[in-house]
Symmetry: C2
Subunit: 342 residues, 2 copies
Amino acid sequence: MIIDVHGHYTTAPKALEAWRNRQIASVAEPAARPRPEELKISDDELRETIESNQLARMRERGVDLTIFSPRASFMAHHIGDFQVSSTWAAICNELCYRVSELFPEHFVPAAMLPQSPGVAPATCIPELVKCVEQYGNVAINLNPDPSGGHWTSPPLTDRHWYPLYEKMVEYDIPAMIHVSTSCNAAFHTTGAHYINADTTAFMQLIQGDLFRDFPTLRLVIPHGGGAAPYHWGRYRGLAQELKKPPLVEHVMRNVFFDTCVYHQPGIDLLLDVVPLDNVLFASEMIGAVRGIDPQTGHHYDDTRRYVEATTRLAPAQRQQVYDGNVRRVYPRLAAALARKGK
Amino acid sequence: MIIDVHGHYTTAPKALEAWRNRQIASVAEPAARPRPEELKISDDELRETIESNQLARMRERGVDLTIFSPRASFMAHHIGDFQVSSTWAAICNELCYRVSELFPEHFVPAAMLPQSPGVAPATCIPELVKCVEQYGNVAINLNPDPSGGHWTSPPLTDRHWYPLYEKMVEYDIPAMIHVSTSCNAAFHTTGAHYINADTTAFMQLIQGDLFRDFPTLRLVIPHGGGAAPYHWGRYRGLAQELKKPPLVEHVMRNVFFDTCVYHQPGIDLLLDVVPLDNVLFASEMIGAVRGIDPQTGHHYDDTRRYVEATTRLAPAQRQQVYDGNVRRVYPRLAAALARKGK
């Protein structure tokens, strides 16, 4: 199988955005907030947005299954309070669940959390429990900066986050470390904030000793690990300066990078420096970069082409990136596939 | 010649740090602040710190000349007010100038600016003028985030920064875009904040149209351009989404990346994707990563080895990275060398 671990519902029906805009407009006025049941999206509408977009691309590209979560830039945890985030997360997660029920062969859900700046992460646990137990979610997206570019939360290695990690370990689910939209004018959302967050998270994990406390915790750093593979020598050297064990022992038993790197030399470098066990196939299509690369004539985000074309992988290794590693990192997905004889 | 465009005086005599600590301790009490003349460092002390450190390494590595600026992480523009930064910048710039006078064949100074959060960049012009006109500085370091990790300044494309750009154009000097220490617990200084700043600056330049207003302005993005080369497809694609011209036209006439990437695959990727005209030799030694790489037996920051070993450069191209490109981007250095018949 070919499994894409990083897809968001970026093409949801416009009614979702309209509802969200009403919610945002009434942030200061709780009584005026729209009720969840005012949002009406039919199964046909969901089918149409998926069949003509993500599923069409998956078929073109030969991708079998996508781990599918709410649109990352729309999480916008910085807006409103916990109640606002909570209602919004519940709506978005329900839609991804419905997509997974409509296309059970092609989509498996991962949950966004109702994070809110300054609010304890433990408040996200009820939504997480519902998503895993009732919706069959196989992972969560964890935002290391719910402030949206002001970075007011403690590092990921801080005990602040431990209640979530405990629940993740209990359920044996990984988290993708994924920020949302930037409300800091210095940071372009997908060109700076996303990539910076990946780099920041990786360095936080090097500085700390999180996996001593949680030896089975698994974190996926998207967008090819931010800047980390390109600066792999710097990170190996910084771990050494900090008197930590080598990266492969210190963090790479627990940290995984996806292949959302939109050109061949980047994918080649990722595979040159990062151990093969730590690379997971992904595209994040239809996402930040939707155009066609004039240098190749293909979509920038058609990462399968780069993984196919790379000289760094033998066929069995390619299958490991597409499938074997994914099942190891997402055991609930592996179990669901096994139940179907896949 | 082999010119390293990115060196900081990280090995200054301890008296400098002691003076700075006194200054920091009296930030709230202007009357108690130490006077600049209380800092006494002899020429012999300067000679000793350079000869046993940077110059020794340059000789080992066959590097002829370093563009030398005050220690980046010590700039700490977020501490105190403009007066604090102004006194501190003057002291640090004077020391680098003295080093360049003691070792005129090996060091040419670049200036730090007395930036301060919320203070207009034009206030830095007198220090800049002194450093260029009296000290022979050939470049400046410009901090896009004087808050130290809170990113409260407008993007580099904002008119906020234009007075500095006007002066740079008048003097025909480039700026290296270089942050200082992070006082945000989320960001490790050299592992996250530095690299993020590079990525952030590059994306700001893509979003804006700065070089339409300043067609001859030149900005050096250090640390190999942050994450940009690894994600070159993303940045080409984002420029396209933003309806900007291709990167080579839109920003790469004015933006240059250095070779401070501490492993062979990173240097190879840089040279694979970034036009040769835009790459400048640098090491930032003795800096963030001072150790020896057990995989090679050599210092991580001995970037000359990677540039020598890469299969991507013919000898004339290597010389362009070491020398030709540097003289083009730093014309005041080129003129100074020409006056010496070099």
